[in-house]
C-alpha cells in the first residue's frame, strides 16, 4: 500500500532563497500555515512552534516550515523581519511565501484548511494544525497548534520519529 506523500513544492524563504522539497531532503520537519498580521490563533501557534524550535534546536534532523497564507502582505522582507524578531536561525526555521494558489493547495496536503473570508476581521479562515513530516514526505503526526497540552504530546511524537531516522 502506498501512503500519501507531500507533493514537490517551490517557495521563497525569508532570505530570498528558494525553499523546495529538496531543502528537507533526509530530514523531518514540522509545517504550519499562518500570517504575520493574524490577530487570532497564529501568535499562539507561533509561540508553540518556537517551543518546538527551542527544544530541538540542536537536532540537525528536524527543521521547521511556516507558510504564509497572506502572500500579498507577507512579503519576503516582512517574513525576514518576523523571523529575525523571533531570533530564530534561517537555516532551521523557514518562513515561506509563494504563489497563493500553490500555498492554498499544499495546505490541503498538510491536512490544513485555508479559506479567504473577507467577512472575518483578519480576512482568512484557517485551521491551526502543526504537522510532522518524515524524510519520506509522509505525515507522521499532527496536533492543534493552539493547544499546549497537545503540542507537548506532539513533541514526544517528534522525539520518537527522530530516534527512528
Amino acid at each position: 500500500m502506498a501512503y500519501e506523500q507531500i507533493p514537490d513544492f517551490t517557495f521563497i524563504g525569508q532570505d530570498s532563497n528558494l525553499v523546495t522539497n529538496a531543502t528537507f531532503s533526509g530530514k523531518a520537519y514540522v509545517a504550519d500555515f499562518f500570517f504575520t498580521s493574524c490577530p487570532t490563533i497564529c501568535p499562539i501557534m507561533t509561540r508553540n512552534m518556537l517551543k518546538i524550535y527551542e527544544r530541538f534546536q540542536d537536532s540537525t534532523q528536524l527543521l521547521l516550515l511556516s507558510h504564509t497564507i497572506d502572500p500579498k502582505r507577507d512579503t519576503v522582507g516582512r517574513l525576514h523581519q518576523y523571523a529575525h524578531n523571533l531570533g530564530v536561525s534561517s537555516d532551521k526555521w523557514f518562513f515561506v511565501t509563494g504563489n497563493k494558489d500553490d500555498i492554498y493547495e499544499i495546505a490541503d496536503d498538510y491536512f490544513n484548511v485555508v479559506i479567504e473570508d473577507p467577512t472575518l476581521p483578519a480576512g482568512f479562515d484557517h485551521s491551526g494544525r502543526l504537522v510532522l513530516v518524515d524524510p519520506q514526505k509522509h505525515i507522521r503526526a499532527y496536533c492543534q497548534g493552539t493547544d499546549s497540552v497537545a503540542v507537548e504530546k506532539f513533541m514526544e511524537d517528534i522525539e520518537t520519529l527522530l530516534d527512528e531516522i
Partner: protein, 132 residues
C-alpha cells in the same frame, strides 16, 4: 447557634478568598477573549513581534494612552523594555468604556504588575482625548 456560626464563617470565606483572588473577573474574561491571542495568557507577548504587557515599562508609563490603544489600535514603532516592536495592533471598537476600564485594571494588577487603579472617570477622559 453553632450552625449559624459555621454558616457565617462559610459565607465569610467567600469574601475572604473569592474576592481576594479574583478582583478583576470581568476584565480577566475580556482579556482572554480580546487580548490573549496575541499578548498571551501570561502577558508575555510573542518574542520580538508582540510586546509584553507583563512587567512592561510601556504599560506602566503610558497609563493615559492605553484606553485609546485598545479602542483604536496602534501603528508604527513602539519601544517596550528596550526592544522595538513594529507590528500594527488592531483596535477593538466594540468595547464599552466600562469594559476597557475593566481590562486595564486587570492588566494593571495581573502577572505581578503593580500599576495602580484607573477609575472609570479617568478612562472616560482618556477616551475623550483620542476622539479628537
Amino acid at each position: 447557634m453553632r450552625s449559624n456560626l459555621i454558616l457565617f464563617l462559610f459565607l465569610l470565606s467567600f469574601f475572604l478568598f473569592d474576592c481576594e483572588s479574583q478582583p478583576h473577573r470581568q476584565g480577566q474574561i475580556l482579556y482572554q477573549n480580546f487580548c490573549a491571542n496575541c499578548h498571551m495568557d501570561d502577558g508575555s507577548g510573542l518574542a520580538g513581534n508582540i510586546p509584553p504587557l507583563a512587567q512592561s515599562d510601556y504599560v506602566s508609563q503610558n497609563q493615559g494612552q492605553l484606553a485609546c490603544i485598545i479602542r483604536n489600535g496602534m501603528e508604527g514603532q513602539v519601544v517596550v523594555n528596550g526592544k522595538t516592536y513594529q507590528n500594527p495592533m488592531a483596535g477593538i471598537p466594540q468595547l464599552s468604556e466600562f469594559e476597557i476600564a475593566n481590562i486595564l485594571n486587570y492588566i494593571n494588577q495581573a502577572w505581578e504588575n503593580d500599576y495602580g487603579y484607573l477609575p472609570l472617570k479617568t478612562v472616560r477622559e482618556n477616551l475623550e482625548r483620542c476622539k479628537q
